[in-house]
């Protein structure tokens, strides 16, 4: 975006409005490709869902949440192609590093998920099983939300994985 930074905006604003009205629009030559609505845990949404209101409980149907509302935008230009799967790999490394290591689903799950995500094609079935158990059985929100990003990639960006 042209003007990144900390913005005070009303709850329920959409990503598109946020970029256009608060951030001066996308950088020249860049087109919105995807965005993280809520920090590392909040999942990744494609550009076509840039009109969903950003608020508590509005993102759940899309497999995401507003979390810290630290919004990150991925873009594409002639010179540059952001990939949601790369972002997800990076996020899983982050969670693997941030996991305190107390419980198995998070300690081992983030490491195993990260390893699975290194492949050009993901084992969607196994990753899906693992993701569900991390959500269900991790002690805290870190492990429970860690699979949001890869799940979103599988859901919204399958073409990146072929």
């Amino acid at each position: 975006v042209r003007e990144p930074g900390v913005k005070l905006a009303p709850a329920g604003i959409t990503l598109r409005e946020l970029v256009d009205e608060y951030c001066g629009g996308m950088l020249p030559g860049h087109a919105l490709y995807a965005y993280l609505p809520g920090g590392a845990s909040g999942g990744i949404l494609p550009a076509r869902l840039a009109d969903v209101p950003l608020d508590f409980d509005t993102l759940q149907p899309h497999g995401c949440f507003i979390g810290s509302a630290a919004v990150i935008v991925l873009s594409r230009s002639d010179a540059h192609l952001d990939r949601a799967s790369d972002a997800a790999r990076n996020l899983m490394r982050f969670f693997e590093d941030e996991s305190c290591g107390q419980c198995t689903p998070c300690r081992v799950g983030t490491a195993k998920a990260g390893a699975l995500m290194q492949a050009p094609q993901w084992d969607a079935a196994l990753l899906g099983e693992l993701s569900q158990v991390m959500r269900d059985a991790s002690i805290c929100g870190l492990g429970q939300a860690a699979p949001n990003a890869p799940d979103c990639v599988l859901r919204y960006f399958p073409e990146e994985l072929v």
Binding site: E96, C100, G101, C103, K112, A137, S138
Partner: protein
Amino acid sequence: VKTISLQLDGRTVQARSDQTLWEVAREQGIEIPHLCHTPGLEPAGNCRACVVEVEGERTLAASCCRRASEGLHVQTASPRARRAQKMVLELLEGDLCGPAPAADYIPDNEVRRWARALGVGPSRFESRAQPSADLSHPAIAVNLDACIQCTRCLRACREEQGNDVIGLAGRGAHARIVFDMEDALGGSTCVACGECIQACPTGALAPARGAGALVAEREVASLCPYCGVGCQVTYHVQDDRIVRAEGRDGPANAGRLCVKGRFGFDYPRHPQRLTVPLIRRADAPKDPTLSADPETVRSWFREASWEEALAAAGGALRRIRDTHGPKALAGFGSAKGSNEEAYLFQKLVRLGFGSNNVDHCTRLCHASSVAALLEGIGSGAVSNPVRDVEQAELVIIIGANPTVNHPVAATWIKNAVRAGTRLVVMDPRGSELTRHAWRHLAFRPDTDVALLNAMLHVIVEEGLVDEAFIAARTEGFEALRENVRGYTPEAMAGVCGIPAETIREVARAYATSRGSMILWGMGVSQHVHGTDNARCLIALALATGQIGRPGTGLHPLRGQNNVQGASDAGLIPMMYPDYHRVGEEEARARIAQAWGVEASRLDREPGLTVVEVMKAAADGRLRGLYVMGENPAMSDPDANHARAAMARLEMLVVQDLFLTETASLADVVLPASAFHEKLGTFTNTDRLVQLARPVLPLPGQARQDLWIVTAMARELGLDWSGYGAEPTDCTQAVPHVFEEMRRVMPSIGGISWRRMADAGAVTYPCAHEEDPGEVVVFTDHFPTPSGRARFVPADIVPAAERPDAEYPLVLITGRQLEHWHTGSMTRRSGVLDALEPDPVALLHPLELERLGLVPGDLLTLETRRGHVSLWARADATTPEGTVFVAFCWAEAAINRLTNAALDPVAKIPEFKYCAARVRPGGVAPEAGSLGGGRILQVELA
């Protein structure tokens, strides 16, 4: 706590509100997978293998730490719960040491067991990068490639044992088990209790050198052979060798063990084990200097048949008796033997030798405590079991180092402190327990009475006495009041080195707590004023009424695994079984009748005590001695004198497992049975009679001790064939002897052999078969003629030998964790000897500096009676001006230096105090053919 109802897998069940869902399920017969949870440890809820589905909740719940509550709908095996349980197992199994069970360090890896049960595997995940093994410790192999980070080891180390060595370092996938500051286990402060091994579900921590992986052919439920705590043990046996020991859920140990109990079981199969009777060669004079190593000592003897050996031993004792009279003979029984052996041994001396010259190592440990207790409260045993510390508000440990000498008892004390009990350690030396103590009163050695009388002074003068208790339950209080009047804390502070205000504070806390308990050890008893020390402790309990209830009382921590039982059985020169004085006509008549002999056969006079026997032998008054399983050449004070005295004997018969230092002076050596090779009962420090079962067969021509005693009896003219003892099998005879003891000893009258065999553990006093046994005694009366306890005032008596310009240090002797008493067992145990291979003298770092020494230097320690050379070790818990040495080192036998001065009442020697000096250098101690850690090296080669 209330009763609630909830839905569990579709059924309505009742539960208690303090139960976890896991516990409720288990009660209902539903097994939920679990790894990090194990009963006995605080639930951690980290592995998540036990997650269950609770209706209406977003996530699954760990059943091990989720409390049951009213109206919950819980599913333990719903598809969602099962999926999670299985995935957890798959994640963990994928990271295990190898793809198949063959790679495991223990036969029953719990991850694999649960994975199999739930049909998980093989894991679809790639394994993590594995850490390398840590094989630095002689007892415990650390293979963290099998670790699942469940922290069971950590909780066992911290919560159960209170050792605080194991930690969890790192984050995420780097979370790892560490020792201290991530030290190698062998270089850490680990005390090798092995609780972590027992707790580990995967063998990541396992017995070293592959012992954990061996599949046992048999498991035998028995006991630990070492200390008086009386831990129950399961021995795993393969090819007639014990491969592992595990704590069993006994009343005293609840599954816990220490380093000796867990790793010190291999000595019965040491290459030096005696398997043939030996007779001294005519050309081998007795060498009281004991300078030779065991292999040379062996060359002084020739092998003999059992017939020849028994005839030689028994014949000589018979001739001495018939020529020089019964008093020319004596016998030392053993507190390592069973009750049945102790009983028959004293019966043999009393009927076969014809005197009361029978004693054992109780004389050297708690004789003074027992003398004071019998005099004061009519019973020499403990009033409350160790585990009553959990109910006490304040606990005093005086003159004892339980983390070293009663390690499992110490764990209960540490647990109690964590739960809020105040611990007062009174000891010149510090210990591991001082770290847990509310107050450590490091008084000057030898000033026990000054300190304790000052406490009594505070209690009396400040009106903290329990008037009602004193009036109803005691006598002689006025004399005590008079006596302690002069012992103000202010006056005594200068004597004992403890500030008056601290004495007052501790005295008040002891007197006014809801329940105060005193436990003590040899630091109290082994003085010429040992009886006085114990009298003061008894007075403290009586004056404040801190006795006769749970969480109060007096507990002299018994040393040997059966010193309580051996004493009860009459292995003491002034008492028949059950502590009836030999001088009492009624007791004499009763025993004579029970034994079917004329009362005139029984000597009226008390016999000689251990140290008196040595004096009589030195004088030539005593000519024959039968020693069963004791090692006075190492354990007697002024051991040079004791060795010379034994060398003078016409006939010394030693019945033992090894050519001990005592056996090397013998004329006849009889190869005996090890603890693990026999059936018998053993009485622990809590008055708990427990059953030990045979684990191993006898090697070679070694024989059952009980049979040997009956065979010796036959040589001395007694026909004991009726007991049915067989040379290698006494499983018929032991019940016979036990039933006879039961008739003679009302204290165990309610314990039939059948009950013993069924229950495995019964506390006495136990009057009749329905009596559950009295765990806490003196609740309404004392077993004295008047039913009242008696105050016996004590005054300050100085040690027999005080430091002076020539010998400026105080020598304190005792024991150390890894070695047992004279070392005859533990120095032949691979792990234990490897852990502590060489003799050390403990000195304060500043004392070392003054002497110009650094740790590891050779030093020579001298007293007026002898000298030894050994290695210096810095130990800040040993006060300046003192030096501490354990008596387990044959190559530096510290009892050659100790003073044989006796307490006038109990005849216990002053092992805890004599004057000594240290000089740098000397001749390096050589361990001969045992010790020095070499057994393990032989084993590894």
